[in-house]
């Protein structure tokens, strides 16, 4: 019945105590190697606490390389900016025009022409006199001044691209080279005199 382990007096009094000893060298080395690997991993994957870097991107450079360079969209955005600043006052921000002031651009056959040469000449030279748009003859108290003559080739091309691709229009894009060529052709010419003269310009 007496199963209790016997504890001798000597065992009771001898409290075990750990002796001091140095940490083994290999633990030090292992810790250093792990810290080093951790730092390398962080360097490659951590994004350096940049709040704009999310997985799956590893760093800001990689994120930059994946930015879509949609040239066309940017070009149209540039065109919209210029249009809203200069053209929208008369032609309206939605291209619907203003009665007695400016014809609509949305759905206009002049804007949706095959090429962009004739259309480019209007802002470059200005346009006087009545014009028929979408089968409706329109009369204006004053013509359009050469609003686009002061714009750079690229800005004017962007505006043309914007109006030819917005509000349901289906014209093709215009390039700065197109505008440059047209500008060279029409240099020194006065304002276009009404629809009659406009029709003589090739599309």
């Amino acid at each position: 019945m007496n199963d209790e382990p016997k504890i001798s007096d000597s065992q009771q009094s001898a409290e075990p105590a750990a002796a001091r000893s140095t940490v083994p060298m290999w633990i030090f080395s292992l810790t250093l190697v792990l810290i080093y690997l951790g730092a390398v991993y962080f360097d490659h994957h951590g994004g350096w606490f940049n709040p704009q870097v999310y997985s799956p991107y590893k760093n800001a450079e990689e994120l930059d390389s994946y930015q879509p360079k949609s040239g066309a969209a940017e070009f149209i955005a540039q065109g919209k900016k210029t249009y809203d600043m200069i053209c929208a006052a008369c032609h309206g921000p939605d291209g619907s025009g203003k009665p007695g002031q400016a014809p609509p651009l949305a759905g206009s056959e002049w804007v949706n022409a095959k090429g962009d040469r004739r259309l480019a000449e209007i802002p470059l030279l200005g346009l006087n006199g009545p014009i028929t748009v979408k089968g409706q003859p329109m009369n204006f108290s004053s013509g359009m001044a050469a609003m686009g003559a002061g714009l750079s080739d690229s800005d004017l091309a962007a505006v043309l691209t914007y109006i030819r691709s917005s509000w349901g229009n289906t014209g093709g894009p215009a390039t700065a080279d197109d505008v440059k060529a047209v500008r060279a052709i029409v240099a020194g010419h006065g304002a276009i005199n009404g629809e009659q003269e406009l029709k003589t310009i090739p599309e």
Partner: protein, 306 residues
């Protein structure tokens, strides 16, 4: 207590370190977050919610939607697609450049340029020149996509690179890119959720943008989604006697759910606010930190140049 001071210091350092990690670092990273500009556009994102949608967030919270729905789209990778827009004057040279991509490398005859299972190794894509623009390659890494586009350009053709986010959530159709901090700028509290009994809702306004569908789904989920695990939220609706004229808000219910003659089911303000909130959940624009090429909305065909 000889070690009391040391225990205090140790506890202070441990708690202080976790406070720095969990509170200070996030505040330094995102505490000054503001509206940002949508990529390649002058629009700002996100927009402040309308009043009813702001109230709807509280209905969402009170109804426990976050118990079964998350609002966080995960993204595991990013890939490039190449869209051929023009073959220029020398279609053969362009085709040669594209085919060169598929030429087996000298190493074991394996092509390393694409890991898309849909494209057989060594087999060039068939290009129908009469139907441009056309996606000719996908699942490419950026560097390889750049190389291919460089080749096409040098042969006189034109091609664009489309950036596409990939991942399980995105292939489920739950969204088009990953969720980022900016998506939650006007959420208070943020309803991230952690369990997906139902689908993710971070982009639900763009996926299911019909308010009537949403109301019907809240009233009777099974009537619009078979096998839905969602309980009906009938307490957000009232069955009322029709007054002088039927209410324009009344639900158009299927036969088996139609209320008795002379009655109609009308959504309460809570239901309308909740739906306004759901429709305001749209994570569908490209941002700098989550770039992708938005799908083309314009159907413009390039006109012939003069």
């Amino acid at each position: 207590m000889k070690t009391g001071f040391r225990v205090f210091i140790a506890a202070f350092v441990a708690l202080g370190a976790s406070w720095c990690g969990f509170v200070l670092a996030p505040v330094l990273q995102l505490g000054t977050a503001k509206q940002e500009t949508v990529l390649n556009s002058s629009d700002t994102y996100p927009l402040q919610r309308t009043g009813d949608a702001t109230l709807g967030l509280q209905v969402y919270r009170a109804s426990g939607c976050a118990a079964c729905h998350t609002e966080q789209i995960q993204q595991s990778g990013v890939a490039c697609e190449i869209e051929l827009t023009s073959v220029g004057k020398n279609p053969d040279a362009v085709e040669k450049q594209i085919n060169a991509v598929f030429a087996p490398s000298p190493f074991f005859g394996v092509n390393f340029i694409t890991n898309d299972q849909n494209i057989p190794y060594g087999g060039p894509p068939s290009i129908d020149i009469s139907h441009l623009p056309q996606i000719i390659l996908n699942h490419l890494e950026k560097s390889k996509a750049d190389a291919v586009v460089g080749g096409i350009t040098s042969a006189g053709g034109k091609a664009e690179i489309h950036i596409v986010a990939t991942g399980a959530d995105i292939s489920r159709g739950w969204g088009i890119r990953r969720s980022v901090a900016a998506d939650y700028l006007y959420d208070n509290p943020v309803q991230l959720g952690s369990l997906r009994v139902g689908p993710d809702l971070a982009d639900v306004g763009a996926r299911l943008g019909n308010a009537n569908w949403q109301l019907l789904h809240l009233y009777a989920p099974h009537s619009v989604t078979k096998n839905s695990a969602m309980p009906p939220f009938r307490f957000l609706f009232e069955t009322k006697k029709i007054g002088d004229a039927p209410s324009p808000d009344a639900l158009q219910l299927p036969k088996e759910l139609v209320p008795p003659v002379g009655y109609e089911v009308i959504p309460t303000d809570d239901a309308k606010n909740l739906v306004a909130y759901l429709l305001s959940l749209r994570a569908d624009v490209p941002l700098y930190e989550a770039p992708f090429t938005p799908p083309q909305v314009s159907t413009n065909t390039p006109a012939n140049k003069k």
